[in-house]
Structure formats: structure tokens, C-alpha cells
């Protein structure tokens, strides 16, 4: 069976984008996963770019596809779980969808670093911390044992671990959650990656530690001119730490654009509902929180129209019949997948520059 449809595509045309060549260029990316009830459309036609030195936040609730997207890009999903994978994902000079497991392994930990939510399960419990840090240093950079150890201690220092020489000899269980997450970050940074993928890096941590970890990530990203994908469910956190944001719902993109534009003037009703539904520290205290009626759609079935249609207060027949393309609506500074976008914020309609040529191909949008 052709489990991995990863025929290398021809390199995309250099886009008419003004900026430099993006570090990561994902187009029409789909991942369907096997499940007992049939294929789950976990990632459904997603396109985005990410330039070096920038942070893209991917936000959405559980099941929105944000983690599957990032994991599948790096080949971290078990091949047997994947029913369909199509589209292209260009990372610097490589087409990720066409890479062998061996080449993906060479990429992970070297050119792409990863930080996961739960450092306890991501770290090896029976290996002292320095040896875990030394592994990629020796494997990818060819350092000797001694040099790798010295470098490991240096890295622990970089990520703000006090008394790094002593800590290097410890095992993960001897550390607090925040400390372990710092070790995870050190591990992700060992080989000076071009891209850091942080999947809910602070969800398991206390707010005071969360703030420290995010500042650390911000600083490291800036110093190393790394690109970062920050996967999160917390819109306030995203507002503080991301340049761009991609909101996902049911495996699809709901909105994509500069963080300010998306979060201060969301146009897709789902994004707006998501912003309204969380109690905020600085908002007026309301008696009741606005809620989103209904439940997320069954991803084993294809929605012909918009995936949010059944829960959307604005939806009409047009939303049911055809999938909305991700385009820049009049008056917006970002792209929105909605046929009936919410009225734009009272900004003067700036001369709207269409997004990067390509994006989501409208003509294919409604194919079942």
C-alpha cells in the first residue's frame, strides 16, 4: 500500500512575496489518519509560510489538527497511522514530504528542534541530563565525549539553570517541571536549529514559570535568528509571543495573518467566539461567558461546506454548499476562511495586498 504519498513535487515557483525566501513553505498539506471509524481528516488543506527569525503561533482546541500538522511535517507520526498525506512542505533546501526516515532523523534535533508539553515523558528518565544533551552533540556535530559534556553544561547555563555543572549530573526526576522544560529547550537548541517547534511548551507549568520559559524562548529565538512554531491553545499567550498566528478548526485554517490583525480584528466567527469564551484577566467580569453551541464536527466525514457551519450564528446556505477559501476579505489585514466574515474592525480599509500567490487554491476547495 502506498501509505505515504510523498512523491516529491517540483519546487514551488519563487513567490511574488516581498519578503525573503521563507524558511518553511507548506502548501495544500493534508494528513488523514486511520481510525476504527474510517480516515480522520486531521489536517485538511493547510498552507502557510514561515520566515527565519519569526514566530508563528498555531492555535486551536483539541482535535483542531495543530499537533498532527507539526508532527507529521517532521515525520513523527507512526507511518502505519497515516492514511493519506498530500501537499508539499519545503524547509530551506529540502522537501520534507519526500525525505526518508533516515534523512528526517538527521534533520530532527539538528536543523529542527522540538519542545513538547510534557518534558517528563520526552526526556529519558534513566540517563543523566548531560548525557541526553551530549547525544545530539556527538551524533550530529561529532563532538568528543569531553567536549560534549562541557558544551552540555554551557547549554544548561544558557537556558538559565542555576549551578549547571551539578544539575548536569542529575536525572530528570530530580528536577522541577520548569527545570525539566529548560532542559528540553537546551536539548532542542543543542545543534543551533533553524526552526524550533514548541508544542504547548508551558501548558503543564505554573504561570510564574510559564512566563520565565516564554521569555527564554523569545530570547533564544531572537539571538539565534531562529524561526519558531508555537503551538498553543492560549490566545493571550499567543498575543504576547507570536508575530503571526494561524487559527485552526477541524483540521482547517480559520484565519492566518499578523497576530495583531487576527486577534484584534478577527473576522471568522469561530476565532471571535474563541476569544470571547475565555475569561480574561483584564476584561469586564460578565455574569455568563459566551459559549459556542454544538460540538466540533466528526472528522471522519467530509464537510462540503465550512466546517464551522453547524455551530456558526452567521451561517447560511452558501456556507453549507462550498468550502470557504482562505482569502483576504475587504478591509482586513489577514486571510480568513469565511464566506460571511464578521464586520471588520473600524480600521480604514487599507490597500489590501493579497496573500502570497498560491495559498489555498480556491478552485480545488469544494472537491469532496
Amino acid at each position: 500500500m502506498n501509505r505515504l504519498d510523498n512523491t516529491p513535487r517540483t519546487a514551488p515557483e519563487p513567490s511574488a512575496d516581498t519578503g525573503p525566501e521563507p524558511l518553511l513553505d507548506v502548501r495544500d498539506y493534508r494528513v488523514h489518519l486511520h481510525s476504527p471509524r474510517g480516515a480522520v481528516r486531521a489536517v485538511d488543506d493547510v498552507s502557510f509560510t514561515l520566515a527565519a527569525g519569526r514566530t508563528l503561533a498555531v492555535v486551536g482546541e483539541s482535535g483542531s489538527g495543530k499537533s498532527v500538522l507539526c508532527r507529521s511535517l517532521l515525520g513523527l507520526l507512526p507511518p502505519a497511522a497515516i492514511a493519506v498525506r498530500t501537499g508539499t512542505a519545503r524547509f530551506a533546501d529540502l522537501e520534507l514530504t519526500g525525505l526518508s526516515e533516515q534523512r528526517l532523523r538527521a534533520l530532527r534535533g539538528r536543523r529542527v528542534g522540538m519542545v513538547f508539553q510534557d518534558p517528563m515523558t520526552a526526556l529519558n528518565p534513566v540517563m543523566p541530563v548531560w548525557r541526553q544533551l551530549a547525544l545530539p552533540l556527538r551524533r550530529h556535530l561529532g563532538l568528543g565525549r569531553k567536549a560534549a559534556r562541557a558544551r552540555a553544561v554551557e547549554l544548561l547555563d544558557t537556558v538559565g539553570i542555576p549551578d549547571p555543572a551539578r544539575r548536569a549530573r542529575q536525572y530528570p526526576v530530580q528536577m522541577s517541571g520548569g527545570m525539566r522544560q529548560r532542559v528540553m529547550i537546551a536539548l532542542a537548541l543543542t545543534c543551533d536549529p533553524e526552526l524550533l517547534i514548541a508544542d504547548e511548551p508551558t501548558t503543564a507549568l505554573d504561570v510564574t514559570v510559564q512566563a520565565q520559559i516564554l521569555r527564554l524562548l523569545d530570547r533564544q529565538r531572537a539571538e539565534r535568528a531562529m524561526a519558531m512554531i508555537l503551538i498553543s491553545h492560549d490566545l493571550d499567550l499567543v498575543a504576547d509571543h507570536a508575530d503571526d498566528v494561524m487559527v485552526m478548526y477541524a483540521g482547517r485554517q480559520a484565519e492566518l495573518g499578523p497576530t495583531d490583525a487576527v486577534l484584534t480584528a478577527p473576522r471568522m466567527p469561530y476565532t471571535r467566539a474563541l476569544l470571547d469564551t475565555a475569561p480574561r484577566l483584564h476584561s469586564v467580569r460578565a455574569e455568563r461567558l459566551p459559549t459556542i453551541g454544538g460540538e466540533p464536527p466528526d472528522l471522519t466525514r467530509t464537510a462540503d461546506g465550512c466546517a464551522f457551519e453547524s455551530r456558526c450564528p452567521r451561517a447560511d446556505h452558501r456556507c453549507r454548499s462550498a468550502r470557504p477559501p482562505l482569502v483576504v476579505p475587504p478591509g482586513s489585514g489577514h486571510r480568513v476562511a469565511c464566506r460571511l466574515p464578521e464586520p471588520s474592525a473600524p480600521h480604514p480599509a487599507v490597500d489590501v495586498v493579497p496573500g502570497r500567490a498560491g495559498g489555498v487554491d480556491v478552485s480545488k476547495a469544494s472537491t469532496p
Binding site: E61, S62, P162, S176, G177, G178, M179, D206, V207, T208, V209, Q210, A211, Q212, L214, R215, D218, H233, D234, D236, L237, A239, D240, H241, A273, L274, T277, A278, P279, R280, L281, H282, R285, A286, E287, R288, L289, P290, T291, I292, E295
Partner: protein
């Protein structure tokens, strides 16, 4: 102060909100201490906490993991074995009761936990899970139990079709509704909620919070609402208490606490919450991590991370003082007070 004390403790259906019993202390906790043993050494996870919850009031309890906030709830529910201090419920010290003598109290206190799926027995049907407390209360009339289960399911917005399913067939939000229904089965006066929305997506969190607040208001329930999420606590609470390393550092009406925190720890907690770019600047953020509760720092427990700590903080443990009406803080140099102003001016002169 003496209000209707139902002698047999079996409360009638609580739909008469006539006497709201304003300022009637339903729960009064005094000098609560909970000891744990770690590697042969005893330590206090809760080291002398005083709390009061009025009838119908929601007290929020916040703090970082390991501060003892869940232990407080478990001690109040009498789920901890090694406790000392007083836990007065409706005038009676329930900390001394043992075994069967606790039954009338347990009937009046419900508890909902964080993990919606793990806190439900995976082998039982939802219907039976909700019925359990009724059966434990000695009800044997099957038809009456079935009616009551249907009623409770309706109250928490569970479709009847779900009652014959098992927990793994339900979503996290639905499981949390089941937990709430179970906690409400015996018509409690006090609900202990321990991180009940932490595992839920924001949209589901909103539904569960709305449900909880509806029921609270309709039944005039008092709540001890524990969460690490300061925004959620602000949304549900009338008053908020802040814990650090087994002790209370501050307690105040919700708006006063969030607008003008008097303890440096509270201020740091609030500054850490993302949003409005507050924490990108790094102002008021804490450095270091929570010390071990096994060997807490002497004097003020917060002094090792406190940006304002002075010598006095190392030698003398601060006792709670009232800085504004109903606003108590355990700090030698509470923010926004005369003492604080003197400190600031002294430092300005000194530099």
C-alpha cells in the same frame, strides 16, 4: 449568628432562598495543618491556614502547584488522614469526627476533581455513577433513584441517551458534567471544586463554568473554587485567597485583590498571566522556583523569591494584617500601604 440549624442534618429540598443568611459562616477553617511523610520525614503541606466561606459565597483559592491548595480541599472533605486544627461546618467541628459520624457532613459537601475521566469509574454506566451517592445515603427505592438521576442529568445538561454509556464514551466536558451531577446528588450546601476546568478546552470550559454558576446561584451553593488559572478564579469568585508554600499570603474581595494586590507574590502571579504584553517586559516576574515544602525558608516563606525582601523577612514570620476592609495580607511590607510608601521613600533616599 445562630441561624436555622437543621437538627437531623438532612436538608429539605433547598429551593427556598428566603433567608440568604448574609454573612453566615458556613465553613470556618482555623489553623489547618496537614502533614505528609516524605522519605521518613514529616512535613506540613498545609501549615496553618485560616479560611471562611459564607453561605452562598464562592471563595477562590489560587497558588502554584505544590502550594497546598488541593490539600486544603481534601482536608476539608476529610480525605486527608493527618490533619489538625478546626474545620467548623455550620457550627460543628467536623475535624474531630470519625467514621460514620462524618456521614451527615459528607452529605452536605460535594466535591468535583480535575481529571474528568479518571475520577469516574470506567466500568460503570453514567446512570449508576450518578446514583451511587443516593444509594449510599440509604435510598433503596429504584424508581425514585431513577427519577432523581434523570432530574440531575437534566440540570447539568446531559442528554438521557448518555446515561447508559460509560465514561470513556463521553467527552471531557460531558464527564465533568457527570461529576457535577454526582456531587449535587445529595443536595450539598458546599461544593469543593479542585481545578475542575483545567483539563477542558476553552469553549467547553465556558459551558461548564456557566453551568456551575447557574446551579450555584439557583441553589444558593457555597463553593471553594481551587484553580491555578487566575482569570477563571476572577470570573467565579466573590473573594479570593492566595496560597504560597502551605500558607495563606493574601485574602480579599475579588475586585480589590486583582486591582490592588498587597502581597508581592500576588502581584507577581498577576504579572505572569499572559495578555496585553505584560509579561514580555519582565516587570514583576518572579525568578527562581518554589522552594521545597519539606524545608520551607524560615521567616516569610516567600522571601527567597521576593523582590522586596529585607532582613526582617528572614527572621520574623509575617502575620496576617488587615490593610483594607476584608483585605488581609501576611507581609511585613504590604504594597500600596503606608509601610510600603515609607519603604519606597527610604529606598529612594538610600540610593
Amino acid at each position: 449568628m445562630s441561624s436555622i440549624d437543621t437538627p437531623d442534618r438532612t436538608r429539605p429540598q433547598h429551593d427556598t432562598d428566603g433567608e440568604t443568611g448574609a454573612d453566615r459562616a458556613l465553613l470556618t477553617v482555623r489553623d489547618l495543618r496537614v502533614r505528609y511523610r516524605n522519605a521518613g520525614r514529616l512535613f506540613e503541606a498545609v501549615a496553618g491556614v485560616d479560611l471562611t466561606v459564607q453561605a452562598g459565597e464562592t471563595l477562590g483559592l489560587v497558588g502554584e502547584s505544590g502550594c497546598g491548595k488541593s490539600t486544603v480541599a481534601r482536608a476539608v472533605a476529610r480525605l486527608e488522614s493527618s490533619i489538625s486544627g478546626r474545620i467548623e461546618f455550620d457550627g460543628e467541628d467536623v475535624a474531630r469526627l470519625r467514621g460514620k459520624a462524618l456521614d451527615p457532613y459528607r452529605r452536605r459537601v460535594g466535591m468535583v476533581f480535575q481529571d474528568p475521566i479518571a475520577s469516574l469509574n470506567p466500568r460503570r454506566r453514567i446512570r449508576d455513577i450518578i446514583a451511587t451517592p443516593l444509594e449510599l445515603a440509604g435510598d433503596t427505592d429504584r424508581a425514585r433513584i431513577a427519577d432523581r438521576v434523570g432530574e440531575l442529568a437534566d440540570q447539568v445538561g446531559l442528554r438521557t441517551a448518555l446515561l447508559d454509556r460509560r465514561p470513556h464514551e463521553l467527552s471531557g466536558g460531558q464527564c465533568q458534567r457527570v461529576s457535577i451531577a454526582r456531587a449535587l446528588a445529595r443536595v450539598p450546601d458546599l461544593l469543593l471544586c479542585d481545578e475542575i476546568v483545567s483539563a477542558l478546552d476553552v469553549s467547553v470550559q465556558a459551558q461548564v463554568l456557566n453551568l456551575l454558576l447557574d446551579i450555584r446561584d439557583r441553589r444558593h451553593l457555597a463553593m471553594l473554587f481551587i484553580s491555578h488559572d487566575l482569570s477563571v478564579v476572577r470570573h467565579v469568585s466573590d473573594r479570593v485567597a492566595v496560597m504560597y508554600l502551605g500558607r495563606l499570603c493574601e485574602e480579599a474581595p475579588v475586585d480589590d485583590l486583582y486591582a490592588a494586590p498587597a502581597h508581592p507574590y500576588t502581584r507577581a502571579l498577576l504579572a505572569s498571566v499572559p495578555g496585553r504584553g505584560a509579561n514580555t517586559q519582565g516587570h514583576g516576574l518572579l525568578t527562581g522556583e518554589l522552594p521545597s515544602p519539606i524545608e520551607p525558608p524560615g521567616g516569610c516563606r516567600f522571601r527567597t523569591r521576593c523582590p522586596l525582601a529585607r532582613e526582617r523577612c528572614a527572621v520574623e514570620e509575617p502575620q496576617p494584617v488587615q490593610v483594607r476592609p476584608h483585605h488581609r495580607v501576611a507581609c511585613h511590607f504590604p504594597l500600596g500601604t503606608q509601610i510600603d510608601a515609607e519603604r519606597v521613600s527610604r529606598e529612594a533616599v538610600g540610593s
